[in-house]
Every structure is written in structure tokens, then in C-alpha cells.
């Protein structure tokens, strides 16, 4: 385990047209740790993590200033290969969107694009990814069935497997459990715990117990601005800022 900064964010601003959605944000995200982003609805959590793999690019009218350095390289530099970036920084969405294909083809989607069409190798990658996403046992006998027939929790783990299959270094989760029941949520949380051995993880969540359970560091956002950032335990037990305390006690109280 290292204690290096995997992602360094400096003076990050983002505008949707005229509307400023992120204001002068700075943050250091450590390697092989889970960093949680919390804050009220509309404060810019999703916007913020989408900046980490430039998923805001396809949105119309977006303008970004500042730096996001991953392994010391600013991903907003002109010479950055966005495709390679997204391969390195995978993303999971609030609502899982399995492609309307078989379970197998879903997981094989990324590898087919990036590295191999070799059948045997693909099989290995698919199995390994599904195992690491703790879905293998449940689907190994129906890999050729449509992914759309899986339950919501299974779909979310399938999407995780699909992301793992392109072998990223960082995984961004945007409220991955908000549509899931407690049991599926527990499975995803256990999985995140496993994944942090090999990956750097950033997770947006509305659920503060969840942030407390899964994360090592937590950042609190309000109106597009990061108010407080620190070790999860300290932030929850001893918030330094009044806004953070109000939010945490308001929710817990």
C-alpha cells in the first residue's frame, strides 16, 4: 500500500453555459483508498467526478478550467488521449445501463475494443472480471442470456465487471447503490472494499452511513464548492466547518 496522491485537483472550475457548477476546487486523492463525495442534491458531486475522466466532454456547453493531474499528468492538456484516459479511469453510474446484449458480450465489450478479439483470451478476461465483481457464481450458466434480464443489483455488478474488464486504475462510482435494496447494497459495498486493494476509488453517495462504512477519506460539497476534506472518521466525528457539521448532524440527528 502506498500513500501517494493518485489524483491531484487544482483550481477546478466548471460552467454549464453561464451557470458555474464547480468553484475553485482543490483535492488530493490517494492511491488505493476510497474517497467519498457527499453533499446535498445539486451541489455538483456528479459534475465533479465526471471531471475526473472527462465525461463532461459530450455534454453541450461545458467549459472547464484548472487542472486534474492523474499520475502527474494534467488530463485537460491538449495532447491527452481521452480514450486512453477513460480506459484508465472507469466510471459506474447511478442507474446501471447494461447494453442490450448477452452478459458475455457486455463484459467483453471493452476488451474487444481495446486489446483483443482472441476468443480464449476474451473468455479468461470475462470470467476473471465477473469473479472479481462477485457475479460469476450467479451467471456462469447463462452467459449467453440477455443482460437485461438480470436484477438491478446484478446489473450494477455486471457494469462493474464490464469496467474491470478494461483494467482501469481508478474507478468512479456515482451513487451506485441508490436504486438497490439493502442486500444488493451490502454486496456492492463489500465489493468496493475488495476492489480498493487494486484500484483507487472515488464514490459519490447520498447515504452518509455508506460513506462512513466504505470510505477512507470524505469530501463535503456545497453549492459547487468543496467545504471540507479529510479522513472519513475525523470528518464525521469532528467536522471543522460549521456547514459540514450542520449537514452531518441534520442527517444523522
Amino acid at each position: 500500500m502506498t500513500d501517494e496522491n493518485k489524483i491531484v485537483i487544482r483550481d477546478l472550475n466548471l460552467w454549464y453555459g453561464d451557470k458555474r457548477a464547480l468553484i475553485d476546487n482543490n483535492m488530493d486523492i490517494r492511491e488505493n483508498k476510497v474517497t467519498a463525495i457527499i453533499g446535498p442534491s445539486g451541489c455538483g458531486k456528479s459534475t465533479f467526478i465526471r471531471c475526473l475522466n472527462r465525461m463532461n466532454d459530450p455534454v453541450e456547453g461545458v467549459r472547464v478550467t484548472g487542472e486534474v493531474r492523474i499520475d502527474s499528468k494534467n488530463i485537460y492538456d491538449k495532447d491527452v488521449d481521452v480514450v486512453a484516459l477513460r480506459k484508465k479511469v472507469g466510471m459506474l453510474f447511478q442507474k446501471p445501463n447494461p447494453f442490450p446484449m448477452s452478459i458475455y458480450d457486455n463484459v467483453a465489450y471493452g476488451p474487444r475494443i481495446h486489446c483483443t478479439r482472441d476468443k480464449k483470451k476474451l473468455r479468461e478476461i470475462v470470467e476473471e472480471s465477473l469473479r472479481n465483481a462477485t457475479l460469476w457464481e450467479e451467471v456462469s450458466d447463462r452467459l449467453d442470456k440477455s443482460a437485461l434480464d438480470l436484477s438491478g443489483g446484478q446489473q450494477q455488478r455486471l457494469c462493474i465487471a464490464r469496467t474491470l474488464a478494461v483494467k482501469p486504475e481508478i474507478i468512479l462510482f456515482d451513487e451506485p447503490c441508490s436504486a438497490l435494496d439493502p442486500i444488493s447494497t451490502g454486496k456492492i459495498e463489500d465489493l468496493i472494499h475488495e476492489l480498493k486493494r487494486e484500484y483507487t476509488i472515488v464514490i459519490v453517495t447520498h447515504n452518509m452511513q455508506q460513506a462512513a462504512r466504505v470510505s477512507d477519506y470524505t469530501a463535503y460539497f456545497l453549492l459547487g464548492k468543496m467545504i471540507e476534506f479529510g479522513k472519513t472518521k475525523e470528518l464525521f466525528e469532528n467536522p471543522k466547518e460549521k456547514e459540514t457539521e450542520d449537514y452531518i448532524t441534520g442527517r444523522f440527528g
Binding site: M55, P58, E60, V83, R86, K87, M91, F93
Partner: protein, 286 residues
């Protein structure tokens, strides 16, 4: 008073229902009558020879093979021309442009083209393909006829493809980008497969219209039965032959036989396209 009103309402309701029922019945009966009449009048001349032989003795013997071949070739050319262009335009409209004045203009253009009378397309095709591009199309050839029909059905294919591409969830595209796919890879792997049912529907509609039109190609095809030697050469089609046979009063039996053949071909092509559609969507969404 109240009782009377209720009675009135009941009677009106009944009358309304009866009216709707009658108009539905009327439509079905008309359709059956047309199809039935053509079937009865046309079935007499139907035979293998009618489908596979050249006409002889001024249509009194033999069959209508040249027109069947001509129709299939012309429609084939129309689809080969308009499908890639139409689907390409739809991809451009949905994936490469922002909603704005230019997309609106393209859409209005496509819709207006759809409303242009087919004889006007014929005139346009005559000017462009038969005269202006003569060296390339061979003048009044099957190629000119096919391209003219292709232009005519282009708006249909663009609009149906576009509508079905818009139904692809934004989330699916985002996830594809998130896995490191490029825009083209996303279009190829996610957008196009998902839009196939709509594209095939557009092709079916276009095909039905193309094979049934006479006016746009009347300037380009021969009225005499010729086995086409190449697409740059002359040929005739079922619709133009039908027109000719009926106008000149040569043989009403053969005319009805031609009509029946045309209807059977349209039904067969529709059925196969639907089968293909089901096959493709099943195999792409395995």
C-alpha cells in the same frame, strides 16, 4: 327529464359505436374487394410460365419475366442507394450536430421532399440522371430509374432511422464512452444495432413505395419487354407494363396478372424484411 337524457346518451353512444363499426367494416370490405377482385381476375393467367417466360405473340402467350426482373433490379438499386445515405444522414443528425437551425432545416427539407408528388421526382430524375449524368447512367436506364426512386424514398429512410436512433438511451452511449470507446465505435456497436428495427421499418416503407410507383420512372423505362443486359441498359418494370397494357387495351387478363404478381412480390418482400428484422434484433440482442 333526466331519464330521457340518459336514454338519449345511451342512444347516441350506440349510434356512435355503430358508426365507427360501420366505417371499420367499410375499410376492411373495400380492401378485401380490391384484393379479391385482383386475385380473381389475375389468377387465371398465373402459372410458372407467366412468371418465368418472355411474352410472345403480343402478350397472348408466355409471361412477364422481364418486368419482374426489371422491378426487382430498380428497387434493389433504389435501396442500395438510399439506405447507406439515409442511415448516414440520420447518424449525422442524431450524433454529430446540435439541435439547432441546421438540423431543423434538414428535417423540414426531408419532410417536404416526402410530400413532393412522385411525377415531380420523375422530372427531376429525367433532368439529372437521364440528361445531365448521361455518360454515367447510360441515359434512360434501369440505373437512372433506380436512382430516381432512391431519391424519392430517401426522406422516409432518414426520418424512420433518425427516430429510432433517438430512442437509444443516453446512458448506454455514456457507458460506452466510459469504457473508452470512441464516438464511431459507440455508433457502430450501440447506436446502429439498437436502431436496426427502425431502419428496417424505413426500408420496408420505402421499398413498398418504390416498387409500386409508375410516375417517377415512366420517362426512363421501356414499355416493351426487354431482358435487361446491364443496369446501364433499358428494361421495363411491373408498374410501367401494367400502365402500358391497360392504356393500350392490349390484354386486361395480363394486366391483372401483372397486378397480382406485383402484390405478391410486395407481400413477400414485406414478410421477408420482417423476418430479417426479427432475426437481426434477436441476434444482436442475444
Amino acid at each position: 327529464m333526466e331519464g330521457l337524457d340518459r336514454m338519449d346518451a345511451k342512444v347516441t353512444d350506440k349510434l356512435g359505436k355503430a358508426g365507427l363499426w360501420l366505417s371499420a367494416l367499410f375499410i376492411i370490405l373495400t380492401l378485401l374487394a380490391v384484393l379479391g377482385y385482383i386475385l380473381i381476375r389475375g389468377i387465371g393467367v398465373m402459372s410458372l410460365g407467366f412468371v418465368f417466360e418472355m411474352p410472345r405473340n403480343n402478350w397472348r402467350e408466355g409471361g412477364i419475366f422481364p418486368a419482374i426482373i426489371g422491378s426487382l433490379i430498380v428497387v434493389g438499386i433504389a435501396l442500395l442507394f438510399s439506405t447507406p445515405i439515409g442511415v448516414g444522414a440520420a447518424v449525422y443528425l442524431t450524433e454529430f450536430t446540435r439541435e439547432g437551425r441546421s438540423t431543423k432545416a434538414i428535417r423540414i427539407a426531408a419532410d417536404s421532399l416526402n410530400a413532393v408528388p412522385s411525377i415531380v421526382f420523375g422530372l427531376f430524375g429525367l433532368a439529372l440522371f437521364v440528361f445531365y449524368l448521361k455518360d454515367f447512367t447510360g441515359g434512360p436506364s434501369l440505373l437512372s430509374a433506380g436512382l430516381t426512386l432512391g431519391f424519392m424514398i430517401l426522406p422516409t429512410i432518414i426520418r424512420t432511422s433518425e427516430v429510432s436512433m433517438r430512442t437509444i438511451p443516453f446512458g448506454e452511449k455514456m457507458e460506452s464512452y466510459g469504457l473508452g470507446a470512441t464516438k464511431l465505435q459507440t455508433i457502430w456497436n450501440i447506436v446502429l444495432p439498437g436502431a436496426i428495427p427502425g431502419i428496417v421499418t424505413g426500408i420496408i416503407l420505402g421499398l413498398g413505395r418504390a416498387i409500386g410507383e409508375t410516375a417517377p420512372i415512366i420517362f426512363m423505362v421501356s414499355l416493351n419487354p426487354i431482358i435487361p443486359k446491364s443496369i446501364l441498359g433499358s428494361g421495363n418494370t411491373l408498374t410501367t407494363q401494367l400502365y402500358f397494357l391497360a392504356m393500350e387495351g392490349i390484354s386486361m387478363d395480363v394486366a391483372f396478372g401483372t397486378a397480382l404478381t406485383l402484390i405478391l412480390i410486395i407481400l413477400t418482400l414485406n414478410y421477408s424484411a420482417r423476418r430479417l428484422n426479427r432475426y437481426l434484433s434477436r441476434n444482436l440482442k442475444r
